[in-house]
């Protein structure tokens, strides 16, 4: 399990988020929420060791991140970046790279790696895409291949930075379903999402980041009741009860009318 203790993150000298303490428990989908520029992606990259931290501690199963090699980290946490280079390689090759942290020099993929990759592709619903070049796939299909790569990496924690952005609604829902299945398999799934209603509906836990700090962390119910959401985003979040549970939606903030 990955644990952040009073972690301060940022670029260069300027901190973006101060003293964030939280854990990413296995079996749960944790969503990082916050307005643009609040430091969600920065927090994620720092937790993965992709950016240097400015203070505090990052513990992987109780061991400080600074004591782990890049490869050891890669066996514990997978990462789907927000923007990516799309090389013209096949989907299978792409997923195979998920096995990379398990190989020693000279790195040659073994038969069992091919097998794991194929299973992961099928698991993500992209088994038929194995031989297609990545550049010919749609955004939604690519995202499935990336999810398969994260699965093939076989880590306890999976970080995804805005996995639903630029996808059409069906693929957005599919990505959320896959995230839920990953969590049901005992993985800790950590997502950055922009869609408030989707985040409130799908997450087990939400972390509200705003104004350079972790404002609140809790279940969707707690976050909804807390009111931090309305303040941070400058909207009014409401909900209605439907057959499939609470449905959350946002309204423009009602400014209190001045009395004349």
């Amino acid at each position: 399990m990955i644990e952040l203790k009073e972690l301060t993150v940022g670029y260069g000298e300027k901190p973006v988020l101060r003293e964030v303490s939280m854990v990413f428990p296995p079996g749960q989908v944790t969503v990082l929420l916050g307005p643009n520029g609040c430091g969600k992606s920065t927090l994620m990259k720092t937790a993965l060791g992709l950016l240097p931290r400015q203070g505090g501690e990052i513990l992987y199963d109780g061991v400080g991140l600074e004591h782990l090699t890049t490869r050891q980290v890669a066996r514990k946490a997978a990462y789907l970046a927000q923007s990516r280079e799309i090389p013209s390689i096949t989907a299978r090759r792409m997923v195979l790279h998920g096995r990379f942290p398990y190989l020693g020099y000279p790195r040659r993929y073994r038969a069992e790696d091919y097998e794991t990759a194929q299973k992961a592709l099928e698991w993500a619903g992209a088994g038929d895409l194995a031989d297609c070049p990545m550049q010919e796939l749609s955004g939604g299909q690519r995202q499935k291949v990336y999810l398969a790569m994260a699965l093939a990496q076989d880590t306890e924690t999976v970080f995804m930075d805005e996995p639903t952005t630029y996808l059409d609604v069906r693929h957005q829902l599919e990505v959320m379903t896959v995230s839920r299945r990953l969590a049901d398999m005992g993985r800790a799934v950590v997502l950055v999402l922009h869609d408030l209603s989707m985040a409130l509906r799908e997450a087990d836990r939400l972390a509200m980041l705003a104004d350079g700090a972790l404002r609140q962390i809790g279940t969707p119910e707690e976050i909804f009741a807390g009111g931090e959401l309305d303040r941070a985003f400058g909207v009014t979040v409401r909900r209605v009860w439907t057959e499939s549970g609470w449905l959350y939606y946002c309204q423009e903030k009602q400014e209190p009318k001045e009395t004349e």
């Binding site: 992709l50 990462y79 038969a111």
Partner: protein
């Protein structure tokens, strides 16, 4: 397991492409040995190669003139093209190549300096060239990193570094005019006057460096996914980038030390091969090395034959023949990988 087997099919495709390219290299080699001011039948060439008929004119022409020149061609072409494939992959930049980002110019400056200071130390030249190439590539990498490392910045920085190094070469030649005497056609690239003694010190480092980079082909593929994604897959990205660029510098330096500043091979051959084998680093490296050797061999043959008995330096043929072909390729494909 059924699906696993289907993944082996492309390997056969690669093997076929390698075989075709190797056949091309062989054909170009034999033509290079047979044709020239003195045309020689294939039988006589083969006899000279296997050591028969020593002392005859044919033996001397083949063993002391054409064979060294052919070896230099194949070495330089293969090394430059492989170096270009590595550089383009590591910097994920289609415009990057030894001749465009200051690697060749760096090597050239080092060769010029080396010849000016120690004219007799032929064996040191390749080492100096490799060091110069490494200096060139690291300078560009550092500038690009400090300025934000956008793809176009990198190429612009390379152009600037190239011209600084070129000015350095000119300065050396101005002050010590005889520095590059042993290297006629150095600036445009050429093979006249090459000898086995000059090739061997460059050959071994080039081969070792090629094998080493080939053994890192999976790492290169992972690096192509972008630095952060690569690092999250357990790849020490920064260290690997420097290692691979170092290997590319050794290859380019080896080439420059035998044939001078041949441009273009390192830029166009990887692009041509990408249309054949795709973007996976292993096949791209192997096919680029073979293709580069064949191309430079072919160009040198043309240069020797077109206006025989006069010779045109290979650099001129390369640009005259390669340029239009590359433009044609660009137009046909619309755009190359970017």
């Amino acid at each position: 397991m059924k699906n696993w087997r289907t993944s082996c099919i492309p390997n056969n495709k690669y093997l076929r492409i390698y075989a075709a390219l190797a056949a091309l290299v062989l054909a170009v080699s034999l033509l290079n040995l047979c044709l020239g001011a003195e045309k020689m039948p294939l039988g006589e060439v083969l006899r000279a190669l296997t050591g028969g008929g020593s002392g005859t004119t044919a033996f001397r022409i083949v063993r002391y003139v054409r064979l060294p020149r052919l070896c230099a061609c194949l070495l330089a072409g293969g090394a430059l093209a492989a170096s270009g494939a590595i550089i383009q992959g590591v910097l994920s930049n289609a415009l990057a190549a030894p001749s465009t980002i200051g690697v060749n110019a760096g090597a050239g400056l080092a060769v010029a300096l080396c010849c000016a200071i120690a004219p007799t130390a032929v064996k040191v030249v390749p080492l100096a060239a490799m060091a110069g190439a490494f200096l060139g590539v690291m300078t560009v990498l550092m500038i690009a990193r400090r300025t934000g490392a956008s793809k176009i910045t990198l190429v612009l920085a390379g152009v600037a570094v190239s011209s600084i190094f070129s000015a350095g070469i000119d300065a050396v030649v101005t002050f010590v005019p005889e520095a590059l005497n042993g290297y006629s056609d150095f600036r445009i690239g050429g093979f006249s006057g090459v000898s086995m003694a000059r090739i061997l010190p460059a050959l071994w480092p080039a081969i070792l460096s090629f094998v080493a980079s080939l053994s890192l082909h999976n790492e290169m593929d992972v690096l192509l996914l972008g630095k952060e994604q690569a690092q999250s897959l357990g790849l020490p990205a920064e260290r690997l980038r420097v290692t691979l660029l170092g290997l590319a510098a050794v290859l380019a330096g080896a080439a420059v030390s035998v044939c001078g500043l041949v441009g273009f091979v390192g830029l166009i051959v990887p692009h041509i091969m990408r249309t054949l084998v795709g973007e996976e680093s292993g096949p791209l490296l192997v096919s680029s090395a073979l293709g580069g050797a064949a191309l430079l061999g072919g160009c040198d043959l043309l240069g020797r034959m077109l206006f025989a008995p006069y010779e045109i330096p290979v650099g001129i043929v390369m640009s005259l023949a390669g340029g239009p072909f590359f433009i044609w390729l660009l137009q046909r494909r619309g755009r190359l990988h970017d």
